[in-house]
Symmetry: C2
Subunit: 234 residues, 2 copies
């Protein structure tokens, strides 16, 4: 057995974990649109840019492949996933399914602390609504919903939400600015929280449906209006 000094709470200094870092950077590049949908991901290029060899880049790419951000074409390389209108519908359909459930669970687990966290996040939403930073607004919106999934207490559900969110951010980043009236959006979060506090499953589901459904229709409309990618799915 190995001796260990008792844990002191140090944040486990960054295990170099090259693959993880590369994966994070690649993910950023994809969701921020710096690698646009359909773009070829040249291993040697990424490797050179990051100052590493191709091996870690390939492994990171495999992770993103399984996550759905990249598509692997054998002998042709990795490509950034393209989204069709169908994909938007699939993502929102699944998101609706997940968030309904998450909200009901969150209501069951709700404590004064977690309730306050949700309330504070809505405040943040209202504050950022004044700023002219669409990316920030999307981010804070996302954090509210993520909070619900955290409170739900199912790690797999949370991971699924994160996966869906990263896909959605790709799409939204693609559309450009999303919110017509950020304040309106911020307000529509309130009845969701109210329903969760109240705790009646039917009402929670109804409000989540309303809230997510609104975003769904909105994004769907924008994607249909500005369809810069009607090409083949590959």
């Amino acid at each position: 057995m190995r001796t260990m000094s008792p844990p002191v709470g140090l944040p486990a200094l960054a295990d170099t974990d090259l693959v993880g870092q590369v994966a994070r950077l690649l993910t950023q590049a994809v969701v921020q649109g710096r690698l646009p949908p359909g773009a070829k991901v040249v291993e040697a290029g990424i490797a050179r840019e990051l100052g590493v060899s191709r091996a870690p880049v390939r492994e990171a790419a495999r992770l993103l492949e399984r996550q759905g951000l990249l598509v692997a074409h054998p002998r042709r390389g990795f490509f950034v996933r393209k989204f069709e209108v169908d994909d938007i519908d699939e993502i929102y359909d699944l998101r609706l399914c997940v968030e309904r459930h998450a909200a009901v669970l969150a209501a069951r687990n709700l404590t004064p602390e977690t309730r306050d966290m949700l309330r504070r996040q809505i405040d943040v939403l209202h504050r950022t609504a004044d700023l002219d930073e669409p990316a920030r607004q999307v981010e804070e919106d996302y954090r509210f919903h993520r909070l619900i999934c955290e409170i739900a207490g199912n790690r797999r559900l949370l991971r699924l939400f994160d996966d869906l969110a990263s896909e959605l951010r790709m799409v939204i980043g693609l559309i450009g600015r999303l919110y017509d009236d950020p304040h309106e959006i911020a307000r529509t979060h309130e009845p969701v929280l109210a329903a969760i506090e109240e705790g009646h499953p039917e009402r929670i589901v109804a409000w989540v449906d309303y809230h997510i459904g609104h975003a769904w229709r909105e994004v769907g409309r924008l994607v249909r209006e500005i369809p810069p990618h009607a090409a083949t799915k590959d």
Copy 2:
């Protein structure tokens, strides 16, 4: 425009796709329990056994890592995921969420053809109930539920179901034989299909809840009885 000789119906010869093959074999080894939970996956060993180098093995392992079958410990290697009682609950909770939704969607999309496919699958369930092949029974049960997800028509939902199913198969394979009375199990699929044919969402959800909930309780009970893995989660 490009000229092409007319298609002749050649069966698109097998993409060797070494990584994919390795991933499939590894997945099998894991869900079949040949690599038991907690076991270390030695890259060189797998590579030698399969007659390939370590690079494809590592890439395949990354895929399984993202899928949740393996856990990567930096500088220590890949390990087969261990399951706690919490995990069972998480998986079934999410499965319930997914299958409720899938069943409702399936009802909406149901055609005479797909309905017959479901009926035939229930027949298969009854037939395999006579055989003494637990693995086969689990497999056919799984195929019924997967069929519902296929009919639902959301590819992401289907992939999620497959992921959950592979985790579940790990657990079930761990427990050994699952079904007390296979015929009883086969029968409990019938009201689910009946509800889907009928098409009332509330009733569908109720029967799915009943059906999955039964499996949940059963698996939970068995896992609690035979807990061969109460170790740290690592």
